[in-house]
Structure formats: C-alpha cells, structure tokens
Symmetry: none
C-alpha cells in the first residue's frame, strides 16, 4: 500500500460552520493561497449550491494558479424522487468549473428515515445517480459517506451497500465520515479495516472533535488503510470543530513517517496556522499543539534547567520542523535558569557580569513578589534586562497625569485624560477623551509623543487583560495589567502592577511604547538618524 496520504482541507467549507467564523470571498482567496503553499492536495472552496458567496469564490479561483492543490466544490446527492441531470445542486458543482467535486450522501438508515424521509432503496439510487452523473461530466468525485460510523454500528449491511453504490458509480475516493464526532479510535480502526475487505476504492477519513479525538481518529483510520484525511486548519468547524490538520500533518509525517508534504512545506505550518487565524479573526489558543505560541514554552524550573542541558529532555520534536520555536517563560515557578535563557536570547553577557546578574535576579524576584509575572510579558522583561546591562534612556519622563471619569443620570459616561510629560527637554501638556479611562490615557499619551516619535502611530493595542492578585480586599487589591501590542511586523507583551488599575495600565502602556521604539531602532540599522533623535543610544 502506498505510503502517501492526501490532505483534503475543508477550512473554507466545513470550517466556516464553526461559531464565530465568517469569511468574505477575499478572505477565502487569501486562505486558499496559503493552503496551497502549505502543500495540501485538495481545497474545498465551498458549496456553490447553497450560497452565492461561494459561487463568486469559484469564479475567482478559476483565474488563479495553484501549484499543489486542486480546488473542489461541495454538494449533496440529488434530491429524492428526481433526476440527477435536473438537480440544481449537482449542476452548480459542474458549473463551478472545478475538476474535483465532493458530494455527501446518507449511510445511516436512521437518517434516511428521519432526516431526509425516504426509503432505503431511493437513498441508494440517489447516491448512484449523483456520482454517475458527475463522473459522466469528467469530474474527479470524492464521495463523503455522512455518518458512516454511526450507520455502520446501527446497520452494517446497509451502510456498506451505500458506499458500494458509490464505488459502482465510479467514485474516485470514498470518505468515511464521523459526522457527529462520537466515535472512538478503536471503532475507527476496526471499521476502516473491515471495510477494505469489501471496497477497493481508496478510502478517506472525515473526523470531528466532539470527544476530543478528531486527531486520534484520523490517525487510526490512516493506520488502518485510509489514504486521504479531511480536516481544517486549527480544527475550525461545527460544534467542537473538525479534525485539526495542524496536528494531523506533523503526526503523520514526523511520527508515522507517511509522505504528506515536503519538509519545507512542513516548516510553514506555524505561519500558515497563525495567518489563517488572523484572517478568520479567531484567537489562537496559546497551547495549541505544534503551532501554538506555548507549544514549546517551558515554565517549570526543573524543565528549564534540563532543556539548557539538552532540549530533547522536554521537547518531543525539534520545534523548527514545524516552523515553531522554543520559549522560556519566566515565572515564580522557575529558578534563575529562565532568566539566563532570556539573557542568552538577547546576547547579554550574563554569565560574566556576576554583579549585574545578581542584582537583576534580585530585582526580578522582588518584582515577582509584588505581583509582576514576566512569563506573559517578554517585552517588559527585555526592557528590564537591557536597562540593567546596557542602560536605556527614557523616551520621555512623566510630570503628571490626571484621569477623569464622569457619569450623570441618563448621560453616557465620559472619560478624559490630561497628560504632562517632558520629551527632549520640552514640556508637553495635552488632553484627550476615550471610550474608557485606559483608552483616554492611551490617546493623550500618544498625542503628546507623536510629534517626537511619529512611529507610534503604527502601534496598536491588541489585547488587554486584568488580573486581581489578592481578592481578600477586592476593590482595594493589587491588580496586574497585561497588554499586547502590535505593529505591522510583530507582537509584544508588557505589564504593570499597582493597587490602582489606572496606574498599572499606565506602566504597561509606557513599556509598550518604549519597547516598540527601542526594538524598531534595533532591527533597522539604517534608522540611525532616528536613534539619534530618540536618544536611545546605549551608554
């Protein structure tokens, strides 16, 4: 049996059934391009029979060139008691201009009776006629046997007949679907193995994640002989999502030695996953396997001290194989070794400067004791270390700020901030409104600084988290504010701690701007005049 497994991506079709996902035609085009770069073999673009947005996608896709992937369109078997040739759905598939079409039909007798309400015989005819018609038009046909596993468990003989009909009609692939996501790997293994005694057409698997087994079920099917895997990027999809290709591809290729994509394509996995989450406007879970920001992040002190000796002590693969990288989180659980790693990343001479090293570790411990937690705030930590080792000039100094929130009965609440800062010897005194107090403060500070540092216009606060550190005396307790900021190139995190949420936000805000201006200078050595102007030279 071939060692090659085909990847059938349905992010653009089944993926959009997930809660919170809605893609424009433009979004879909961008995603299709990335999927092609990743090397997937089929991209299911949509259901031309069900909505006009999808028809437009296929129109545009026709004019594009894909290096690796075939674009496929999705539909269902013909309606009951009608002719395939006259079925709008099937004809839309043909008109979409794709070279491969996927249609689903019923395998579960219960569904034939309850959902489409017809006879078992008519359902078999619907499958046969539909596949036959598409084949007669020269299309490659993927037949999706919906609810196959549930159907097989309930009435094996009938479920088998349905896919035998698809085979007789000439289907190129028969995909066994665990549509409700309720099957276990053991069931998948035995049913996929059994089926191959009766079917010679290549088998595919389409799994869902309702038992958190979507990846395991896909692997089980491939191990039992399936050679196509349907799934979505980041596991997007109805209910608990489809099987996650971002885990399936590296598992098949790195762990099970199947031939899936090239090793260069595999290296693009992390980027593709994050790019698509951006386009889909969905938050990536930091702990997502293989591609998440924390997938190779180490927090426990024992783990950190071991990976310094050899990364494979606590990493199951080399992160770079999937385009990800190791991170060391600095936290109360960690010893000194986490700080050392961070300093190494930054090329600071940490080992030799023992005096400075001791002092900075004492300072970090002290800050952590106050409630600072640097694991989520790499940028604040970097500023701290650079300050200690290199000395950083302040980009401005605060003289004062005032923040006012005012609410009257039946009037919208108003937030204003007044900021007085000294920049390059000049005092700047300015005020701004905002949607809330932190927004007002952010606006006022930017307004004061923008004439000196025009680059801050490109910075945008993308996440803001507040954590109350000790609830004993809740409204008077210490709070930790974590801010995420982005510009066109990168994302960085800063934090602030105070009894006062406004002051904590101020600290995080100031760190965010400082970091942006300092790192901007660093990565672009051509910006020398800026370095001068910003007063950011080391000294």
């Amino acid at each position: 049996m071939s060692n090659s497994v085909k990847i059938f991506d349905t992010t653009l079709r089944d993926g959009t059934q997930g809660e919170g996902i809605s893609l424009s035609v433009e979004d879909k085009i961008k995603i299709a391009r990335k999927l092609d770069e990743l090397g997937v073999h089929y991209i299911e673009g949509g259901w031309p029979g069900s909505n006009s947005k999808d028809i437009e996608f296929f129109e545009r896709a026709k004019q594009m060139t894909f290096r690796n992937a075939k674009i496929t369109a999705f539909g269902s078997t013909r309606r009951k008691d009608s002719k395939a040739e006259e079925d709008i759905n099937l004809n839309r598939l043909i008109e979409s201009g794709v070279s491969a079409a996927t249609i689903f039909g019923k395998s579960w007798d219960f569904h034939v009776h309850t959902a489409i309400q017809t006879t078992l015989e008519e359902n078999l005819a619907m499958i046969f006629d539909s596949v036959k018609y598409l084949k007669s038009k020269g299309l490659e046909v993927v037949y999706d046997a919906e609810h196959f596993f549930d159907g097989y468990k309930n009435n094996a003989a009938y479920a088998l007949q349905t896919i035998q009909k698809a085979q007789e009609a000439g289907a190129d692939w028969i995909t066994l679907c665990d549509t409700n996501g309720g099957s276990l790997p053991g069931e998948i293994t035995s049913i996929v193995s059994e089926i191959q005694n009766h079917i010679s057409t290549p088998i595919g698997i389409h799994a869902h994640n309702d038992c958190e087994l979507g990846v395991a079920n896909s692997l089980a099917a491939v191990t039992a002989g399936a050679r196509m895997v349907q799934g979505t990027i980041n596991g997007y999809g109805e209910r608990c999502g489809n099987a996650n290709l971002c885990s399936i591809i590296p598992n098949l290729q790195i762990k099970l030695n199947f031939d899936v994509v090239s090793s260069d394509q595999l290296k693009s996995l992390t980027l593709v996953s994050r790019y698509i989450s951006e386009i889909a406007n969905m938050n990536m879970p930091v702990n997502q396997p293989y591609v998440g920001n924390a997938a190779f992040a180490h927090k426990g002190g024992i783990h950190v001290s071991a990976i310094l000796k050899d990364a494979s002590t606590y990493e199951h693969i080399v992160p770079e194989l999937v385009g990800n990288k190791q991170r060391v989180l600095v936290s109360e659980l960690a010893g000194q070794s986490n700080v050392l790693v961070k300093a190494q990343e930054m090329n600071l001479d940490f080992g030799k400067e023992t005096q400075k090293t001791k002092a900075i570790i004492e300072k970090i411990k002290d800050l952590e004791h106050q409630g600072y937690q640097f694991e989520g705030a790499d940028a604040s930590l970097e500023l701290l270390l650079r300050d200690a080792f290199e000395g950083l000039e302040e980009i401005f100094t605060l003289e004062s700020f005032k923040m006012l929130v005012e609410k009257s009965a039946n009037h919208a609440v108003v937030s204003e901030a007044i900021v007085k800062v000294k920049v390059h010897g000049h005092t700047v005194y300015t005020a701004a409104e905002g949607n809330g107090p932190v927004n007002a403060l952010d606006n006022a500070l930017r307004k004061a600084l923008v004439q000196y540092y025009p680059d801050i216009q490109q910075i945008h606060l993308s996440d803001y988290k507040v954590r109350v550190l000790d609830e004993k005396d809740a409204t008077a307790a210490k709070v930790r504010v974590l801010m995420e900021s982005t510009d066109s190139n990168s994302t960085w995190n800063t934090l602030g701690v105070s009894n006062n949420i406004i002051e904590a936000s101020w600290f995080a805000l100031v760190d965010s701007l400082r970091y942006a201006l300092i790192s901007r200078k660093r990565i672009d050595p051509a910006n020398n005049e800026n370095v001068e102007r910003f007063g950011l030279m080391n000294h």
Copy 2:
C-alpha cells in the same frame, strides 16, 4: 479486572505550569472545593518542597472536609548521593499532613545521565529509598514514572527496573507518564499491556497533549488496563497542556462504560469546567468538547432542520448528561433554560405569566448579546427577574458620579470619587478617596448610603474580576466586571458590562448593594422596620 477508574486531578500543580495561569491560595481552595463536588478521587494540591504558597494551601486544606477526594502533595525522589530521611523535599511532603503523596522519578536512562547526571544504579536507589521512606510514614504513595514511554522505547529493560523498584518499595500506584506528550495511542496500548506482565501494582496514566492526543492516549491506557488517570480541568498545563479531564471523564463513563463518578456528578462537569476557567481567568474555547458553549451548537441549516426532528441526528450524546445544553445559532435560545431554573428556585410563576416571561427572556437575550453572562452572577440575574415579576423599588437613584485618578512624578497615585445620589427624596453629595478608582467609588457610595442603610457596613467585596470581551480594539473594548460580595452569612455575585471599566464596576457595585439589602429583608422577617425604612416592599 475492576471496572472502576480513579481520577487524579493535577490542575493545582501541573495545571499551573501552563502559560498565563497563576493561582492564589484562595483560588486553589475554591478550585479544590469544586473538584471535590465533581467527584474526582485525588486532588494534587501542589509541591510543598518548591514554594511557600503551596505550603499555605496544605495548611488550609487540612482544616477542610472533602467528601470524595484525597488531597495529595507532589515531590520528587530524594537527591542523588543523600539519605531519604534527610531530604527536605520528602520531609516537606510528610509535614504537609496529606494522607497520599506523589513522587516522580526518572525512567529514561538519557535523563539519568543528562538531566540529573548520576548513575543508573543510584537512580534506582533514589526511587526505592524515597518510596520506602514515605511508606514507612504511613502514606499512600503514587509513584510517577516520568518519561516512562520515551524511556521504554529507548531502554525497555531499564525503564522496567525503575518501576519494579517502586513496586518493591511498596508504591500503591505506578503512573506511567508521557511527559513530553510525544507518544501515539498505539505505542501507549502496547507498552501498557506489556508492562502488566511484569508489574502487579495498579497502573496509572499521565499524558500530555503535545500531539493533540492527550485524551486518546489516556483512553488507550485505560483500555489496556490502567486504572488511574491523571489530568487537569480544561487540559491546563505545561506547553500544550495535560490530558483534559473534561473530555476523559465523559468518554470513559458514557462511551466506554467505566465507573468513574456518579451521574449527578457528571452533570456538574460543564459548570465545574467554566467555574475553574473563571477562577483561573482563562478564556474557555467555545468549541471545547463536551463543556464548551458551542459543543452542542448548530449553525448549518441542514443540521438545524434535522435536530428539530431528532437531536440525535447531529448530537453524539444528550448534552444534559454533562450539564451542557443544545444551542441553535441561527435562532439564539441561550440562557432560557438557566432562566427557567432560576425562576423555579425563586418560586416565580414563570410558566403562567407568559407575557412577562417573554419580555424578560427578550431582555436577557439582549443583555447577553451585549456581553452579559449570568452564569457567574446569580444575584444580578435574581434582581432582573424580581424586577420583572415583582417590581423592586430602587434603594437610591444616581444623579452623578465623578472619578479622578491623579499621578505626579515621584508621588503616589491618588484616587478620588464624588457621588451625588437621591435616597428617600434627599440628595446626598459626598466624596471619598480609595486605593484605586473602584475602591474610591465603593467608599463614596457607601458613605452616601450608610445613614439610610446601616446594614451595608457588614458587606465586603471579596472578589473582583475583569474580562475584556473583544480584544480587537483592546483599550476601547467592552469589559465585563464580575464582583463577589460577602457578609457574615453568605456570598453573592453580580456583574456589569460597559465600554468603560469604571462604569461596568459601578453597575456591579450597585447590584451587589441592592441584592444585599433586598435579600437581607427577605431572609429575616423580623427586620420589618427595616423593610419599611428601606422602601423595599413589593408593589
């Protein structure tokens, strides 16, 4: 072999190794209580040898009563070339006062050489001595064989010797750990099966999710004979997290018919999962299997029309088995059943008053759309229902408030609030300072009300949480504030939502005081003169 599987929860220990998770002692106590309600058999509370916060947890846990769970403490085998009796770590376990302890030791020869840098013989002695010492002190001992599967694949004979040493020394459980999360279910099945030819001690499994196979690997181990599963709520943990108990428990119990928790305990699963995500201040993925808000949500038109005929067409289990519920995303019905349950608890004639029922459900839907979420704020929901069904008089009306935060270089930040309210026809105008803006507002409001409602002196805000609802435009985004309040008798939760964190806090604060004064009147009929004075009679 017994059909019963023990659940060993390590949310409080391994779970806190996850990025972004940090729990106070108070958080840990709250979570332990919930875990006990869920019916887990072991709660690993922390590592008393590694930090003082954990020591405090065990001090407090000693004074609590747990109905189902044993509290366990975590540590490692003794240091190399030393005596178990003199090992600080091991002695801390004993001093923690728990009846069960978990210690981990090395199974992988590579780790013995590289990480702890000793001989294979000394490592065996470390395991034997440590287990023996804890057993001699009367403790139940769970021996965690770290990296067992990697070790076994590399040097099966040595890996086996390590757990045989633990068995000889009297370990009650031997847990096989896939510490790096890199193993596949097939490997787990064969290794767990093989091990049982050599070991008679009951076997546990500790899996990680680095290949998105944490749940599958745990099930594979149990199917092969393991009878304890270690994992965390919502799969929190280092890197990609630990095996997720919220999926493992229902998979074992509903799908594989193991005896794990009672069916009533299983019904609390969704609530426990969401409660712990709130306490840990971690966003719940909506598509989380079994317990996520979208786990039984239907969006596709075909799916929706089929589930209206029979829910089992697209649901793998009845959602109520795990305390979750069906949602149809095209016609949002969320919240209704919660509301009905709450109304029943309050003895409101919900069924009959159809006009009022419709109106209040519309209102709640609208508020949920704005970002309100009443699951964590029973008191605010009760106020809403009482208002609609009985009519509640306001305890005061707001004319205006002003909140000022001021900071100058080298001076402590100052927060002041000015409040103008009408109480019983009198305008009260007052001001107060606070440790932060919400504290200042709280102080000013109490100062204005206390002469009319002296009871509010007994009320104390015990928790305060802020969640940013839409991070797209971070500092201008909507925020939800959740407040917990207590008096001598009880605890209640209220919430507020606004673009402005100060206004959201104000809403939650006002609800807290309203609820306190209203329920005080209700539960204490002797307080009739107060009822009169408070103007809280129904009308």
